[in-house]
Symmetry: C2
Subunit: 370 residues, 2 copies
């Protein structure tokens, strides 16, 4: 069965163009929203996100996995192909690290026109404390050959995307894979991974958007050419048109988010609060970079004021910020934006791309003060 055959077998979503100019959503987008949970933004109050509140993006199904028979095979252009059981991996040097992770498609559903895919608003984030063993040690033991340019990571989750039946696969250059912080993780927040987070073993690539941290990892292969699988070449690209190959998506762009103050209206999520001085707070992060500034606007982006930077949870985890606001009666629109150490600042105009990747547009919170 060819790719073309496969494509014809699945109903098109919307008009099939891949874009929607409407601000309503298709049932298929809704189904993805239920599968792929966001972190409710009040969860920004926790330095470490409770496991069940951490965002999830799973392309296919959560596989059934048995840790007792699980095996990680490292092969391809290596001098010493190895196969590790979970017991082998647990006996290796152990590291733990808080890591902030965000989906590359976070904010996609705020774009206009909107790419029809997982319709994230702003909640595709979370910070967990991961435990595992450094990937580098395993790669060194396998002896990655000098002709290898990339490592291909394969998970056991299988499905069809873009008409192509596939296992989920992503690659990293040898240099990126050899970095100190890259980890084979088997625990999250002090417990074995839950099935939906990659049980029993996943890759964690701190600083990068989440697509690279392959879950249910069972194969690593060293290869001599850049890997051109679907999840590298067809998606996770900053494309501006269907013909544009686009740059690959990699590390997370700078972003700040705010805990919406007051109490919510059930349906609209518009906020209600009493007039008073309140402390607005939240988190900010910038991939591998430091956050150097967070600013808040309480007048719908007309004026920006400095927030106070607080504790950074870890080298690869988000940083706290706070801002005192004297809330007067009326309808207000609050925004927050961050700047990283290279001077990148979140945009006020949408950074539109064909696939809706890396959208770090500033958050806007509607608050009614009475």
């Amino acid at each position: 069965m060819t790719q073309e055959d496969l494509r014809h077998l699945f109903r098109a979503v919307g008009d099939g163009s891949g874009l929607s100019h409407s601000n309503t959503y298709y049932e298929e987008e809704l189904a993805l929203a239920f599968r792929n949970r966001g972190m409710p933004l009040e969860g920004l109050r926790y330095d470490i996100t409770p496991t069940g509140m951490h965002y999830l993006l799973i392309h296919f199904d959560i596989p059934a996995a048995d840790a007792d028979s699980w095996q990680l095979d490292i092969g391809g252009l290596v001098s010493n192909p190895i196969s590790l059981s979970m017991a082998d991996i647990r006996q290796r040097p152990r590291v733990t690290m808080p890591v902030t992770m965000e989906c590359a498609g976070n904010g996609r559903a705020r774009l206009n026109p909107r790419p029809v895919s997982q319709p994230w608003l702003l909640e595709a984030i979370g910070t967990a404390e991961w435990a595992g063993t450094p990937l580098r040690g395993v790669l060194e033991e396998a002896g990655v050959g000098s002709s290898a340019v990339e490592l291909v990571f394969t998970g056991s989750d299988e499905g069809v995307q873009g008409g192509e039946a596939q296992l989920y696969q992503r690659s990293l250059t040898v240099n990126d894979a050899m970095r100190d912080e890259v980890m084979l993780a088997y625990e999250m927040n002090g417990a074995p991974l839950e099935p939906q987070h990659g049980y029993p073993l996943r890759l964690i690539v701190p600083g990068w958007y989440g697509m690279t941290s392959v879950k249910w990892l069972n194969t690593i292969e060293a290869v001599s050419e850049p890997f051109t699988g679907y999840q590298m070449d067809q998606t996770y690209r900053y494309k501006t048109s269907p013909d544009d190959p686009g740059e690959p998506v990699s590390t997370m762009r700078v972003r700040a988010l705010m805990i919406p103050p007051g109490i919510p209206d059930f349906m609209t999520r518009t906020r209600l609060m009493d007039a008073s001085a309140v402390v607005l707070s939240g988190k900010a992060w910038a991939g591998r970079l430091g956050v150097t500034q967070v600013e808040v606007s309480v007048d719908d982006g007309m004026n920006w004021q400095q927030a106070t930077l607080g504790k950074q949870v870890g080298q690869f985890a988000w940083r706290n910020w706070s801002f005192e606001w004297d809330a007067k009666p009326g309808r207000h629109y609050l925004s927050v934006r961050a700047t990283d150490e290279q001077g990148n600042v979140q945009p006020s105009a949408q950074p539109w791309t064909l696939q809706g990747m890396g959208n770090n547009l500033v958050q806007r919170v509607e608050v009614i003060v009475r």
Copy 2:
């Protein structure tokens, strides 16, 4: 500020009628879908749902809670008002019980016209092992007076719904509250409740739809008249028109769900599999009642065949079922339906109500066999 004032402050969703005749969805519905996670249906493979996969429905925000200072007050028409710390509650007799829970609005988004609210497809389910202390012992110690007809349970989650600022509150009759299985729960699946599941304390009412199992519980009050708060009188009703008061929603209606076979297409979630004999399986439940029969149709509901009933996970938890299917090439629509011990069977036509409550319409899974 009156209710009318409050209502005017929040934008209407859609045309404000509360119903949509379209099969597209509003951004506000999408925002609720991200906050309120479903259980991906492959999760039906687990007798006990992993904590982070269990469905969630939270009307307002997840409150910040401190177990050390948490207090449960039992008052109103009782002879001995008491106030319990978490340490007090943990010292009381401990019970653990697997309980299947489903949101009363599960299936709402499949209705036509569709009530505009939390737009559940089919995933608002889960089974957890809860640990806590029986509510009855606490009520007996407080001495519920003979003039009391109901207990009102108040959580600390606060918001606006239907133009009314409120804490989340539900009531039970004294008889229902005194049943053996009703529990004050502080653990889920062997660990303290996560914040989004009601940390540090919640009510668990086995057999009922989830709205009654009040999270972040801090007050129980015995009252002399049926409680008429928003979550009792204005919602969770089987209404057929705005003027119909409707019967209150209570125990869960009979339902079976199937693990979708094969592998999914990312966007449409249509299934793809190779021709072969496969075992279809899933779970079935019926509130407090037993499931006596599960039937499967492999021809879009034309013919129904008996499935094999398997292990029941607990008195108030779902039951396994399985069915062997010899899958031949082509496009197929699979369905499953259950019957309870009172002879109630899931409907093939939608059980439409104004609020989309208790929709136990049969599941329909599209499968392409190649």
